[in-house]
């Protein structure tokens, strides 16, 4: 198993204010940001990413918009800095919300540039994005995935074509001259990742052989991974564990109590990140008709469920509830390893843990200790669990 540290680079100093207004995203006015405080925080967070290289961890960066929960507005911008500051970590962009991007060729250029800059360490996530990203981008939520797939196919073609230029006259995107310079080191493209929560996402990723990542809910991961394996088998392929990624908050400490304390602070991120004004949570067309019917009948219950399948309210869940749901791994290094192993077994094997190791109020010292202790005490044992194929092997396959 590989482990990818990530942090959303939150602007937590304004969370309390946002919670009082009922929305941390989209319509929370940005006067609640002190840009000088943000300056300090961004440097601090980038230092924490750098520490992962020394700790033997890989690095993931994501992005959100118009929100106090995440100051990363551009994955490529953050990864460009991190690529220069690290030597061995692989760098995962998870990712570019390509159905919200007006210019897929620009995405391909940025990804190729990052792959070149990092010496071929890039992994490239092409994601649908969360529902509350629709309004800041003002992308049409109807036919979102149709636009996603056109952008996806164009990006893959732009990265892998070496004898261009080629033209592209599609439904959504139009170019007369695609010919990106430089081209990526990893050919035909850096490894491609998708994200999802549903069986349908598992099937779509399986058909392309992409890595599929999900988050915070063992109950969602299990059926999605299972659908991926089944679809792969139908297509005559074996889906190795390296096709599956799972994101969870992790708090590890020298003692169980210290690990719980850190995890509970990080979990505060999960409790607050869903606080967003109602109209932005379900733009029409983002979710399927069937999902919308269920929401109209029963209200939205969220996707995090406990082991018995009961919904867990992200806003109010206790650390214990989150641990039961697979949202959080917490405790001593032994505890954390045991919990990750249990989830791994429950969902049929995961090849990548997306280690959400800093959330909001967890301070710099605690974050560094969380990263280093994980790297020293947990990481070596996880490497033995579902060992990752070497990059050369992966490239040969």
């Amino acid at each position: 198993m590989r482990v990818w540290y990530f942090s959303e680079m939150a602007y937590h100093p304004s969370w309390e204010k946002g919670l009082k207004t009922g929305s941390l995203r989209v319509n929370f006015p940005n006067k609640a940001v002190d840009p000088h405080e943000a300056h300090k925080l961004l440097h601090r967070y980038l230092d924490e990413f750098r520490a992962c290289d020394e700790a033997g961890l890989d690095i993931m960066v994501n992005e959100h918009h118009s929100t106090a929960t995440c100051m990363t507005v551009s994955v490529p911008m953050a990864l460009a800095i991190i690529a220069r500051e690290t030597k061995t970590s692989r760098l995962l962009s998870l990712g570019n919300p390509i159905a919200n991007r007006p210019d897929p060729v620009r995405v391909a250029e940025e990804m190729a540039w990052l792959d070149v800059l990092s010496g071929g360490r890039l992994e490239m996530g092409l994601v649908k994005g969360a529902p509350y990203e629709i309004h800041p981008a003002n992308s049409n939520p109807a036919r979102l995935m149709r636009r996603y797939w056109e952008a996806h196919d164009l990006i893959v073609k732009a990265l892998s074509t070496t004898d261009g230029p080629f033209n592209w006259e599609g439904e959504y995107f139009h170019y007369r001259n695609v010919n990106i310079w430089p081209r990526p080191i990893q050919q035909p493209t850096p490894p491609i990742w998708m994200t999802g929560l549903s069986v349908e996402s598992g099937i779509m990723a399986a058909e392309r052989g992409h890595v599929i990542g999900t988050l915070l809910s063992g109950s969602a991961a299990g059926p999605m991974f299972s659908a991926y394996r089944k679809r792969s088998a139908e297509l005559g392929r074996t889906a190795g564990t390296d096709r599956f990624a799972y994101a969870a908050c992790v708090g590890v400490g020298a003692t169980r109590a210290e690990g719980y304390r850190r995890a509970d602070i990080i979990a505060e991120y999960v409790r607050t990140s869903v606080v967003v004004a109602e109209p932005f949570t379900n733009p029409p067309g983002y979710n399927s008709v069937n999902a919308n019917v269920a929401m109209m009948k029963g209200g939205s219950k969220g996707f995090v469920k406990d082991r018995l399948g009961n919904p867990v309210d992200q806003r109010t869940a206790t650390l214990e509830q989150f641990m039961d749901a697979g949202t959080v791994f917490a405790g001593s290094p032994d505890d954390v390893y045991t919990q990750i192993k249990a989830l791994n077994d429950r969902v049929g094997g995961i090849g990548h843990l997306l280690f959400f190791g800093q959330g909001g109020h967890l301070d710099h010292k605690d974050t560094l200790e969380n990263i280093r202790l994980f790297g020293r005490e947990v990481m070596p044992r996880l490497r033995e669990l579902n060992p990752a194929p070497s990059q050369k092997q992966a490239a040969a396959e």
Binding site: A142, A277, P284, G285, N292, K297
Partner: protein
């Protein structure tokens, strides 16, 4: 009972009732609605033809349809197929936008045009919100802006079967497809409104705060023979909130 009519390869669900002059009714973004009080009232004077737009109700939404321009041509084809002559074209809200797009292209089948709180044009500056952003406001706020009596606008999912809820969800998605960006308007439409060469009635609820009567002046100023009439105690949906007055205004105008 609704029937199905194939127009330019698209299966449209169609409600048809009454006798007399044909009246093509183009519904608002909320669909034909479970309650259709406007239908029987209009049907006392007209032969009402009310299609569900592609993606709404039981109408198909083929991949190749995705703009209001497509809908305008589709309904012009419908008018030709039904051989409509001397007909009344009525469009409500989103349907008013479609009707205006039809009328700038071809009014041959129609003698009168009624636009009831139509969307579709841009009047103000870049930062003026001409059309309330129904997709950014809470449901309560949308209802408060759209109804003179907000209690009438309450949505009760328990009234509907799963199949009906699925149609409602599909309709909401379709409305987004046609009107998300630019938001519920065509930046070029106002420039071409002068081409509408038939008497045109703008109908507006005095309590409409989705688009106010002042927004309607943008149509009145561009369409040569247009006038605007206000319906009292009425919000954005005269056909639903004041169906009797709605039908009377239309009958008086198109008599």
């Amino acid at each position: 009972m609704p029937k199905t009519c194939k127009v330019s390869g698209v299966d449209l669900e169609l409600e048809e009732r009454g006798k007399g002059r044909p009246l093509l009714f183009l519904h608002a973004g909320e669909g034909l609605g479970a309650d259709r009080p406007w239908l029987e009232r209009l049907a006392q004077k007209f032969r009402v033809i009310a299609p569900a737009h592609p993606g709404f109700g039981g109408s198909a939404l083929p991949d190749w349809i995705g703009t209001v321009e497509d809908l305008a041509y589709l309904y012009l084809d419908l008018a030709a197929k039904l051989e409509l002559k001397d007909a009344v074209l009525v469009g409500a809200s989103f349907g008013g936008w479609i009707a205006a797009e039809m009328a700038v292209r071809n009014t041959a089948a129609f003698s009168n045009i009624v636009l009831a709180a139509p969307l579709g044009i841009k009047n103000g500056s870049h930062t003026d919100r001409d059309i309330a952003d129904m997709h950014s406001l809470s449901r309560e706020e949308v209802v408060a802006r759209a109804w003179a009596d907000p209690t009438k606008g309450h949505f009760d999912a328990a009234r509907f079967s799963d199949a009906e809820l699925a149609q409602i969800a599909r309709g909401r998605e379709s409305l987004a497809l046609f009107g998300w960006k630019p938001y519920m308007h065509n930046p070029r439409l106002k420039r071409w409104l002068h081409r509408i060469d038939k008497p045109t009635l703008l109908l507006w609820g005095d309590h409409d705060r989705i688009v106010t009567p002042a927004y309607g002046q943008g149509f009145v100023s561009e369409i040569k023979s247009a006038r605007l009439e206000v319906i009292k105690d009425c919000g954005h949906y005269p056909a639903w909130e004041q169906p009797t007055a709605f039908a009377e205004h239309i009958a008086g105008f198109a008599a």
